[in-house]
């Protein structure tokens, strides 16, 4: 009986990407909807989207860093 070997932290990082994935989906999708409704403010919306995306991204990257630190 030798099943899967390796570090459980690998799975941890996989799990850590789920949340930011959902978050990025919502942010980008809603920006698309808003841009379709009001194309004239597209530039401003894009900037705000980038800010939101950057904040969400950190959560996923924290998972990566934790994965490297605790293996």
């Amino acid at each position: 009986m030798n099943g899967i070997t390796g570090s459980i932290a690998t799975i941890g990082y996989g799990l850590a990407t789920i949340g930011p994935g959902i978050g990025l989906g919502i942010v980008i999708g809603q920006t698309q909807i808003a841009t379709a409704r009001q194309p004239e403010v597209a530039g401003r919306l894009f900037t705000n989207m980038m800010i939101g995306a950057a904040l969400i991204e950190v959560l996923g990257l924290l998972g990566l860093v934790a994965g490297l630190m605790f293996t």
């Binding site: 530039g43 900037t47 800010i51 950057a54 904040l55 950190v58 990257l61 924290l62 990566l64 860093v65």
Partner: protein, 251 residues
């Protein structure tokens, strides 16, 4: 992981010497020289009607000024900080792009030193800007005790805000840039190492998988260029947003 702590050319970084000099430091120096050379060549004979080289440099400078600084901070308030934001943008961009340039092959920002220094620069600048504008007491007051909140909530909000202003902002700036570049390098190394392994060591039909991983490697390389530009943009954007928070009028 060994890629991020290569053997020292002289001195040794990983054993705690402060003056070690290894491959990443060399890449950083090369990138700095290249960047300065590029900017110098671009603006050496600056004319009113820009030539091709000058045009590209001016496009980059204009992008930082208009799209990042003036859009977030406003025309007047942006003026003292444009130099800093431009420096940060170009430094981060050049260091990131080193990750996909052949023979350099590692981003200068993929070890903690450089992102940390840039993030601390941003921290000091926005603290100084806030203190200069409002004075020490009033600045801390507006940052730590946001108005319009019922007073018992300050027990919760003030520590969170303090953590946010003094630690989390520079920490997330550092981690975002570092982890992005590190993940990018790992992905590149993985795809090309897999191609190498499958093509040379794989037997029979396994060799057929090699073009697939190679195509993946090309895709990741292009993606890395995109990420490099994006991270430079986001770093400068967030720096100007934090400055904006510090310079805000009272509500």
């Amino acid at each position: 992981m060994g890629d991020f702590f290569p053997a020292g050319i002289f001195g040794d970084v990983s054993t705690g010497s402060w003056f070690g000099f290894d491959r990443i430091m060399m890449v950083r120096l090369i990138v700095v020289v290249l960047l300065l050379l590029l900017l110098w060549l671009g603006t050496r004979k600056a004319t009113l009607i820009p030539g091709r080289g000058q045009n590209i440099v001016e496009m980059g400078l204009d992008f930082v000024r208009v799209q990042i600084a003036e859009q977030i901070l406003g025309k007047e308030r942006a003026k003292p900080y444009i130099a800093m934001l431009t420096t940060i943008f170009f430094a981060v961009l050049a260091m990131n792009l080193a990750g996909v340039i052949p023979f350099l092959n590692i981003a200068g920002t993929s070890r903690v030193g450089l992102p940390l220094v840039l993030a601390l620069w941003v921290l000091v600048t926005y603290l100084a800007a806030g203190v200069k504008k409002h004075g020490v007491g009033k600045y801390l007051m507006t940052q730590l005790f946001p108005p319009g909140v019922p007073w018992p909530a300050y027990v919760l909000i003030t520590p969170i805000e303090a953590l946010q202003v003094f630690i989390l902002r520079p920490a997330t700036l550092t981690v975002r840039l570092l982890a992005n570049m590190m993940a990018g390098h790992l992905m590149l190394a993985l795809t090309f190492a897999a191609t190498h392994f499958l093509l040379l060591e794989g037997g029979g039909l396994v060799k057929l998988a090699a073009p697939l991983t190679f195509a993946g490697g090309i895709f990741v390389t292009l993606f890395e260029v995109f990420v490099a530009v994006l991270q430079a943009y986001i770093f400068a954007l967030l720096a100007s947003i934090y400055l904006n928070f510090a310079l805000e009028e009272e509500h």
